[in-house]
């Protein structure tokens, strides 16, 4: 079932939560609504569910207008951030609720309901907890029960409001994987809200980035990360290092820092955005750039070594004025960078924003210089 959002606006008093949002959610895909708090993502989800009504615009399921259809009749599964399990019912009763609430004509007989409930308990791997009450479950267990409850009536659409937001990191990771498998098995159209970019990129087939009631960009996770359309998406998706300055005769400079920008025609203000993996650290300036930075911290946790650096003699854009560069453990063992060392950032690939509202231009130095990969020579 596809979901079509057409020109939805919603206002809470003076606050414009959604401003003329249009969106297509493809059938059978797992789509993420990603954005900071106040971006309107939860409001949009609740409007799609029918828990909130829009001031303007239409919602359609598979081309059929459901804008004025009551939430009760939309036949969707909805998972709440704080589970919203019925606290005085057992796990089994919670899961059976939707089936028992069906109109008499559609309601399956008692034995069938029981069978379905035990199937679902099996699926969430909690058959031994059927007679427990929600207060007796851990957060991860509660969320699995909530999921089982929401899909008991076999809805075509599954909507999840920050489903893992209240869980700790380890449980969240397990549940994410589990949801992914569940989705692959049942192929409903799923839409989930999250403010966690990692979760969105890891879990979804398509990410919708929202900000201040607008859709900023819609794309597949890999594309979105590699080619953000706007400064906002760049900032919001992952760490980014920024050099903001003025372009003159093919060189972007600020303070004592400069970067050559091959093939640029633009003159004036510009910002260069670099991902942590698109930058190399060298002990001396290179012909393509002079970006002196002093090492603030080195973190060895993870598959990559994360180095935090503070610009020396110039300023990075952003509140904390810190650059982050990822280097491999092999490089780390070779160079042994420590706090206080001076390094020079050498960009490999960058994204240049000129003017407002324009999409960034990708800048590739290696190709321009026609040199083999410098990383190997080092």
């Amino acid at each position: 079932m596809t979901i079509t959002v057409d020109g939805i606006s919603k206002r809470f008093g003076k606050f414009q939560a959604l401003d003329n949002v249009s969106l297509d959610i493809p059938e059978g895909k797992l789509t993420a609504l990603l954005g900071p708090s106040g971006s309107g993502k939860t409001t949009l989800l609740r409007i799609i569910a029918g828990l909130e009504s829009a001031d303007n615009g239409q919602i359609a399921f598979s081309g059929q207008d459901v804008t004025n259809l009551h939430v009760r009749d939309r036949n969707i599964g909805f998972v709440f951030q704080h589970y919203a399990l019925f606290r005085h019912m057992t796990v089994a009763e919670n899961i059976a609720f939707g089936l028992n609430a069906l109109p008499r004509k559609q309601r399956p007989p008692k034995a069938k309901i029981q069978k379905r409930v035990s199937e679902l308990l099996e699926m969430i791997q909690l058959p031994h907890l059927a007679q427990r009450f929600p207060a007796q479950l851990s957060g991860g267990q509660k969320q699995r029960v909530a999921l089982a409850r929401s899909i008991a009536t076999r809805p075509k659409v599954l909507l999840l409001d920050e489903p893992f937001g209240a869980l700790d990191a380890k449980v969240r990771k397990d549940l994410r994987r589990w949801l992914r498998n569940l989705h692959d098995e049942f192929h409903f159209t799923s839409l989930f809200v999250t403010h966690d970019q990692e979760e969105a990129l890891e879990l979804s087939d398509q990410v919708v980035v929202m900000s201040q009631g607008h859709v900023e960009q819609v794309n597949e996770p890999t594309e979105l990360y590699a080619r953000p359309d706007s400064r906002f998406v760049f900032d919001f998706l992952g760490q980014v290092n920024v050099l903001s300055g003025e372009v003159k005769h093919g060189t972007l400079s600020q303070g004592n820092a400069w970067v050559t920008v091959p093939g640029i025609q633009h003159q004036g203000d510009a910002q260069l955005y670099l991902r942590p993996h698109e930058v190399r650290l060298a002990t001396a300036p290179s012909p393509r750039a002079n970006l002196p930075l002093r090492i603030e911290a080195v973190s060895l946790i993870g598959s990559e070594v994360r180095v935090e650096l503070r610009p020396e003699g110039w300023e990075s854009e952003g509140s904390d004025n810190i650059w982050e560069v990822g280097i491999s453990h092999a490089e780390f063992n070779q160079q042994r960078p420590v706090r206080g060392d001076l390094r020079y950032a050498v960009p490999e690939v960058g994204h240049l924003f000129t003017g407002t509202g324009a999409r960034p231009a990708t800048v590739g130095w290696a190709e321009a210089e026609q040199t083999p990969n410098i990383r190997l020579i080092n």
């Binding site: 009760r72 909805f78 019925f86 609720f97 007796q136």
Partner: protein, 290 residues
């Protein structure tokens, strides 16, 4: 180090003298003001022996007063149960202009002296009042008969149920009900299977308090009832009437009935509180055990 030091320094006000002084004072005051008067009621009622007690209880006017009091409570409690639940639902589940004001207004019956409430009703619904005059023209009499007594009792007791429910329903939020409606449940089903079980104990608590006040209300009822023996005399009014007739034992007999209802109410209240605490405790220990 730190521990041994802090154990030598007592907390402020933790000296044994202060402790025993306060405890003694509390016990003395409670005994003099609460326990002794309560015991005296039963003592005086039984002062002339069991036979007199039975005679006083079986007096036709006393029996009528008991009947009227129970009748008024039986009408008031369900009315305020429905009203209080609906009101709590309204102010906790919907956002509308004037919502905060409404929550404040619920407390008016607590803030206003019951006599003033009775007087207002008398002025409004009495024969010479705005509405009462019109009703009298249609042969309907509210004041100085049982409908008036019920009306002021409902007014005086209306905050109890709502006051108990509003904080609880605010704290519980509406997510469970939203989950219910998403799962296709009708409004009535949601109320019956989700909302009601969640507020059950608070509701019972509110009903117990409403009932206690409805049975014991004196001020407002005395203004609108007219004190007609065997017709509009409720039990609290009957106590006063008997006392003015110098029937001291009779007055204390009726008073002992009211006191008995009060003790029973307290017992039920204690039980409900114990149940609530136990449920809460069990859930908490289970959560810790996880």
């Amino acid at each position: 180090m730190n521990n041994s030091q802090s154990s030598r320094h007592r907390r402020v006000g933790d000296s044994p003298v202060v402790k025993w002084l306060l405890t003694g004072l509390a016990i003395t005051v409670a005994t003099a003001l609460l326990i002794v008067p309560l015991l005296v009621i039963f003592y005086e009622a039984l002062g002339a022996g069991w036979g007199t007690l039975a005679d006083n209880l079986l007096d036709q006017y006393t029996l009528h007063a008991i009947g009227l009091t129970l009748f008024v409570a039986a009408l008031t409690v369900p009315l305020n149960l429905v009203f209080g639940t609906a009101l709590a639902w309204l102010v906790t589940r919907f956002r509308f202009p004037g919502r905060k004001l409404l929550i404040t207004l619920i407390d008016i019956p607590f803030a206003v002296s019951p006599v003033v409430a009775g007087l207002l009703y008398l002025l409004l619904y009495g024969r010479n009042g705005w509405i009462g005059g019109w009703l009298a023209g249609h042969d309907v009499q509210l004041m100085f008969s049982w409908p008036g007594i019920v009306m002021v009792t409902v007014f005086v007791t209306c905050p109890f149920v709502a006051r108990e429910l509003i904080p609880l329903m605010q704290q519980q939020g509406s997510e469970e009900e939203e989950a219910g409606v998403v799962l296709g449940a009708s409004g009535w089903r949601i109320f019956r299977t989700i909302t009601l079980p969640n507020i059950k104990w608070a509701l019972i608590y509110g009903v117990v308090l409403t009932n206690a006040r409805a049975v014991g209300e004196f001020g407002a009822v005395s203004v609108v009832s007219g004190n007609i023996r065997g017709q509009t005399n409720t039990l609290p009014l009957h106590v006063e009437l008997l006392y003015q007739d110098y029937n001291i034992v009779g007055a204390f007999t009726s008073a002992s009935l009211l006191a008995g209802i009060a003790v029973f109410t307290l017992a039920v209240k204690g039980f409900v509180e114990w149940r609530q605490a136990r449920t809460l405790n069990r859930l908490q220990t289970e959560e810790i055990a996880q």
